[in-house]
């Protein structure tokens, strides 16, 4: 314990200079220290959390650094092997997608259903963009996006079974899948999707799950709906 004559205060920290005025200070006698502790209580130090924080940050920075290096190598390989097809753009997009997802899942505090909904939306966008850059063959709308919706339906069912006590917390996610299915059907109506099988499958499955949720969920479903849509 120390005493700063300039500030006229006692300092609990184990330091040689006053943290406030930076004057070199001297420690106080044991008697004086006992008196201070009797008046104000014993010191209550803090842990060195700087080290812990830095370790987490370092891991994230390392992943970003390695991703950039990997993408740079892929660009070089792309340039010297197949300069006419810029496939390294796709890998670049994949790295961005991976880093964003990693950061989002680790640090964002949305619920699991919201995270899954956003991840599904992002995946759809990424696939549509990749499709666009690789010749616009339409595979993303025909197969990939409806496939993701079906995956979303399956996830909703799986999560409801897994978390049976709070199954209703995934109803909004299911509703979102239903809306996406309708959107896919609308795209079919505008001839953006030629194959009818996938849109029909999506809307049938999503609607089936939704109907089952409404009928079997009964009061819990309505309560969840009321909570979520309270004005």
């Amino acid at each position: 314990m120390y005493r700063c004559d300039n500030c006229n205060i006692t300092i609990y920290d184990n330091v040689d200079v006053c943290p406030l005025c930076h004057q070199v200070i001297d420690d106080i006698s044991e008697e004086e220290e006992a008196k201070v502790i009797k008046t104000f209580g014993a010191p209550s130090p803090y842990p060195d959390v700087r080290k812990i924080t830095k370790r987490t940050e370092l891991a994230m920075k390392l992943i970003v650094f390695l991703s950039i290096i990997a993408e740079a190598i892929l660009i070089v390989i792309n340039y010297f092997t197949t300069p006419k097809i810029m496939w390294s753009l796709v890998s670049g997009l994949a790295f961005v997608y991976f880093l964003f997802s990693l950061r989002y899942w680790i640090s964002h505090d949305s619920g699991f259903a919201i995270k899954l909904g956003i991840q599904i939306t992002l995946t759809m966008i990424i696939l549509a963009v990749i499709d666009h850059f690789t010749g616009s063959k339409g595979w993303s709308f025909e197969w990939a996006i409806p496939g993701i919706i079906l995956f979303g339906d399956a996830m909703a069912l799986f999560l409801m079974m897994l978390n049976r006590q709070r199954w209703y917390s995934y109803t909004m996610f299911l509703l979102y899948m239903e809306l996406l299915s309708i959107a896919v059907m609308v795209l079919h109506g505008f001839n953006k999707i030629t194959n009818i099988v996938m849109p029909i499958t999506c809307i049938a499955l999503s609607s089936l799950f939704m109907l089952a949720t409404i009928i079997f969920g009964d009061r819990a479903f309505y309560r969840e709906f009321r909570r979520r849509f309270r004005v």
């Binding site: 006229n8 006692t10 014993a42 004005v231």
Partner: protein, 440 residues
């Protein structure tokens, strides 16, 4: 460790899925989920420093026993289409861990068993950190006190064998929304929060997400005598001293176009006879605009006292309350989807964020009842940073000692230095302690 019989704790109620309880956020709480970020967590910390090292197992057991009795803390935050809401959280109590982050660190609402508070410990200290959407300091203090009582009953079963394992008699567990209850449509002109720019204390910052803490310990009797010399209450004296420290150290005693404005939360419970554990406070601002060349300490204290006295009146507080609640009760605004509401709230908050230099709060006396008092040295309270406010102060008292805690994201301690020097020069015995962030 010998443990007391824990079978007396409340029987576990099994809540049916379909009947899960939920609740609206109070008027103030609506703001916090929108503006909370890693840098601006809106989490406050209250700590109890015991006279002995804290046993984690015992503290966990105490938390497990206390939490079921405090419904306001057994909540998780959910987003609806138009509003956020609370849903009862029946998960086990969050894990008590050793302190491993800066005070007031962001509480990730999908971790920590989805609870919006955390309990940590380090050596002799028990920390309770609470997301402000849950409750204000009043609710936090009740929780921490009950946690400490229960911890001590478990840690000292023989000495405290006469004490019952239950929430203290006289504690109100009321969860009403006192804002809405006391909102009256009135012809009074509503008083909004000001958005004129105030002095913003800036400078070199500490590392990312780092927060510097300086505790100042002062005997209340000496502080009272010092405040009395200027005709001030302890609260007014501390706020005025802070304002003067900013004036002398940050403005270097120069004039300024913008005022030094210090936000002071006012607990509305005594004014409206409320005992709610939810948030129930409004903000007033102690203002000092340095318009002439030089002001003495006495002059600044007088200006701050007048500014606070003028604002802390039942009539003025009613006007602020009316302004706060009127927007929430407007049906058209209620129909706006949450996503848009969030954008609007962020915009309004951003516009008024620079209207205050700092916030100083006093959560009052935290003396424990007998026979627990002898086990505790002191309590701390501290606030996390918010937009435009890089330094904040929080104080509380225990066993005749006032602890004033500065929290700041700035590397400089010049304001803190002036503040404690001024108080020490008034004949008050001052001791300080930091969280070591200011050292290599």
């Amino acid at each position: 460790m010998d443990k007391q019989d824990t079978t007396l704790k409340q029987p576990k109620r099994v809540v049916r899925d379909s009947d899960i309880a939920w609740d609206k956020l109070d008027n103030t709480a609506n703001l916090f989920p929108v503006i909370a970020t890693e840098d601006m967590s809106n989490v406050y910390r209250i700590s109890a420093v015991l006279k002995e090292e804290v046993d984690r197992v015992c503290l966990q057991e105490a938390l497990n026993m206390v939490l079921p009795n405090l419904p306001i803390f057994r909540m998780r935050l959910k987003a609806g289409m138009f509003w956020y809401y609370f849903e009862a959280n029946n998960r086990p109590a969050p894990l008590v861990t050793e302190e491993a982050s800066y005070p007031g660190a962001y509480i990730n609402k999908s971790k920590n068993q989805q609870y919006m508070f955390r309990v940590t410990h380090y050596k002799n200290r028990i920390n309770l950190e609470v997301f402000h959407a849950l409750t204000d300091g009043f609710g936090g203090v009740i929780f921490l006190k009950e946690l400490v009582y229960q911890y001590l009953r478990l840690a000292h079963p023989d000495e405290l064998k006469g004490e019952k394992n239950r929430i203290s008699t006289g504690v109100f567990l009321d969860t009403e929304d006192s804002y809405l209850k006391n909102f009256k449509k009135t012809s009074k002109h509503p008083k909004g929060y000001k958005s004129n720019r105030a002095v913003t204390v800036t400078g070199e910052r500490l590392g990312k997400n780092e927060m510097g803490v300086v505790h100042g310990y002062m005997p209340i009797s000496e502080l009272k005598a010092a405040a009395k010399k200027y005709g001030a209450t302890i609260n007014q004296f501390l706020v005025a001293t802070f304002v003067y420290a900013v004036y002398k150290e940050y403005l270097r005693g120069n004039t300024s176009e913008d005022p030094i404005s210090c936000c002071v939360p006012v607990n509305l419970r005594p004014y409206y006879d409320s005992h709610t554990m939810k948030n129930f406070f409004v903000m007033v601002s102690a203002e000092f605009k340095p318009e002439k060349d030089s002001y003495t300490y006495e002059e600044v204290i007088k200006i701050v006292i007048d500014s606070l006295k003028e604002q802390i009146t039942p009539d003025n507080l009613a006007k602020i309350l009316y302004y706060n609640v009127s927007n929430e009760t407007n049906f058209i605004l209620r129909l706006v989807p949450l996503v848009i509401k969030n954008l609007a709230i962020k915009q309004v908050y951003g516009a008024s964020a620079h209207a205050n230099t700092a916030t100083i709060t006093n959560i009052g006396s935290l003396d424990l009842r007998e026979p627990y008092n002898k086990y505790v040295d002191r309590f701390y309270a501290m606030l996390s940073m918010s937009k435009g406010q890089n330094i904040k102060g929080a104080c509380c008292s225990c066993n005749g000692i006032m602890t004033f805690t500065f929290s700041s994201c700035l590397a400089s301690l010049s304001i803190q230095k002036k503040f404690f020097q001024l108080i020490a020069n008034e004949g008050v015995n001052v001791a300080i302690e930091t969280n070591d962030v200011y050292y290599e």
